[in-house]
Amino acid sequence: MNAIQVQDLRKTFKVQKNREGLKGAFADLFKREFTEVTAVKDISFTIPQGEICGYIGENGAGKSTTIKMLTGILVPTSGSLSVGGYVPYLEREKFVRNIGVVFGQRSQLWWDIGVIESFQLLRKVYRVSEQDFKKRLDELVERLELQELLNRPVRKLSLGQRMRCELVAALLHNPSILFLDEPTIGLDIVVKSEIRQFLKDMNREHGTTILLTTHDLQDIEALCSRVIMLDDGRIIYDGGLEDLKQRWGTGREVLFQFGNPTKLEQLEHWTTGMPVVWSAENELGAKVWIPLDLNVSDVLGRVVGQADITDIKIIETNTDDIVRSIYQSGSAEKPDEMAAALKDEREALHV
């Protein structure tokens, strides 16, 4: 079953234009000018139940607007969507009982009173029975180690502590779909990895579907099996993280350390017929670039028997680089051309 189904979703905002200067301001008093901005341009995707999906894109790409439509906050301009079996904006109050939402930059907890009081209130708001609430709270508190924090007012919590409490607040009613908007923003590495682990466990144990937006690609690498990438309101990539790396990674690099000086010509000679590129690091080191369609082991096989090797290091292209290059090209449609361009660039460097 699909948790989220989106078809040709579009959102257009009317933005007021402010004319410049005093004259412009007076003119605006009597006649306003508007420009239409389409934040989300006819996107379609489906997310099956139990999947963790990363929703990424640069600032202003339309991520937040999509999330807000999926959670029922905004009414779409056109297109259809179904989340957990509901049309979010039509039956909002019924619908939101099945979802949890965390906005990383905003708190849903009461500032001045103990965290537990906020939880109690949310229990009433979400109509969770006392028993279910207790069971669920105990589980979450133990898992996120919040025992000592429960009676502290939110204003006395650190950002990391607060974020863990926000997660509890969003999960008390055991939602089947969880939306996270920048859940790890501003947190330190320890808390980040704790939260990632927690989300992963929750997805495994309860089958919770998770859609998260983030600028931190480590989140994506740690959590998501699937990535949807947005640029200027359009989906430019939708698929597995591995696929993304496959399509966009231009190849791998292997770094050799030799026991005695090895000439570049010698290395090239050993790999004749293979589309690889060698470069020398220093007298005792060399690097080889291997395109994706070639097995690393084949290349290694040719070298290992011949040279005196002290160390080998395989370097994968990391997601950060891939994403950056996609953003720069503005499209994931033609990876081949881009890859070729990248390769040319590399070759140029090696010459």
């Binding site: 402010n18 005093l22 301001a25 007076f26 605006d28 008093l29 306003r32």
Partner: protein, 292 residues
């Protein structure tokens, strides 16, 4: 704002040979201060809904006050030295004045203090209090020109409000109005800066508003208060905001009396500078020594 500042930079750079660097930087700063007026004016202008409803509500205010006083006068004898006609123009004028002198500087300043942004304001190369006054002036000019004048025009069409016709009365009124603005803003600044020393000055701000509305003569002309109260009010700055200029404008005070009124306003303006300078100094001390 930045483009205006830039043009100020280039023009003063050209003239620096004549005035010297000191002179030109002073002129630059003056330009910046004037710009605060302009920016606030433009900001107010940006809110269209506020503008239209503002005119409507201002004319309604004048109308309601007019009829209330007509009902109070009933058969038209005089109250507290005001004839019915004088009273109606007094009411109209005091609301017109309020449009100009009213601002929320107290609230703005105490918000700046409470959220800590005042620290940034204090390290900028301008005088914070002066900037606030300029912003208040921008707001006043806006309300006066765009709420009050149209509001008054509508009110005069609908109700028989009478305003003086001599030019001199208007010139005098505008000068006194400017002092009304200064004195009221000074009181606001003092109330606002008190947030540095009082934990919650919300109560103070509300109290100040009631006191100013009541004791400045906006709600009731001071001469209508019981004798003991009006004689106390003679020694307070509030009458200089509405009551005194209003009395001049309605022709109740004439000749030398006019200069006396102006003198009282200047006096209070100077006196109120003292606590502001002191508070500003103390606030800086507190901010930089104790770190907010």
């Amino acid at each position: 704002m930045s483009d205006k500042l830039e043009t100020a930079v280039s023009s003063s750079a050209g003239g620096s040979s004549a005035g010297g660097p000191q002179e030109s930087s002073r002129r630059l700063l003056m330009g910046a201060y004037l710009d605060f007026i302009r920016i606030r004016f433009l900001t107010m202008l940006a809110y269209r809904v506020n503008y239209y409803s503002g005119i409507l509500i201002y004319s309604l205010n004048i109308g309601v006050n007019y009829f209330t006083w007509m009902a109070i006068y009933g058969k038209g004898e005089s109250l507290g030295g005001f004839s019915a006609t004088q009273m109606t123009s007094y009411v109209a004028v005091s609301w017109m004045a309020r449009a100009f002198y009213f601002n929320n500087l107290d609230r703005e300043i105490s918000t700046d203090i409470r959220d800590g942004s005042i620290a940034i304001q204090f390290i900028r190369p301008y005088n914070y209090v002066l900037v606030k006054m300029m912003q208040g002036l921008g707001e006043g000019i806006f309300r006066f020109m765009l709420f009050m004048i149209p509001g008054m025009a509508i009110a005069m069409l609908l109700f028989p409000v009478q305003l003086p016709t001599e030019l001199s009365a208007w010139v005098g009124f505008l000068v006194m109005l400017f002092f009304s603005f200064l004195i009221n803003s000074q009181i606001n600044v003092i109330t606002g800066l008190s947030a540095f020393f009082v934990e919650n000055n919300e109560g103070m701000m509300r109290m100040k508003r009631v006191v100013v509305d009541l004791f400045s003569g906006l709600v009731v002309p001071i001469s209508l208060f019981p004798g003991w109260l009006s004689s106390i009010l003679n020694f307070l700055p509030f009458q200089a905001i509405t009551y005194l200029p209003g009395s001049v404008f309605t022709g109740r005070v004439q000749g030398v009396g006019i200069w006396n009124v102006l003198g009282v306003q200047v006096f209070w303006f100077l006196v109120l500078l003292i606590p502001i300078i002191w508070l500003n100094h103390a606030a800086r001390q507190r901010l930089f020594v104790q770190g907010g």
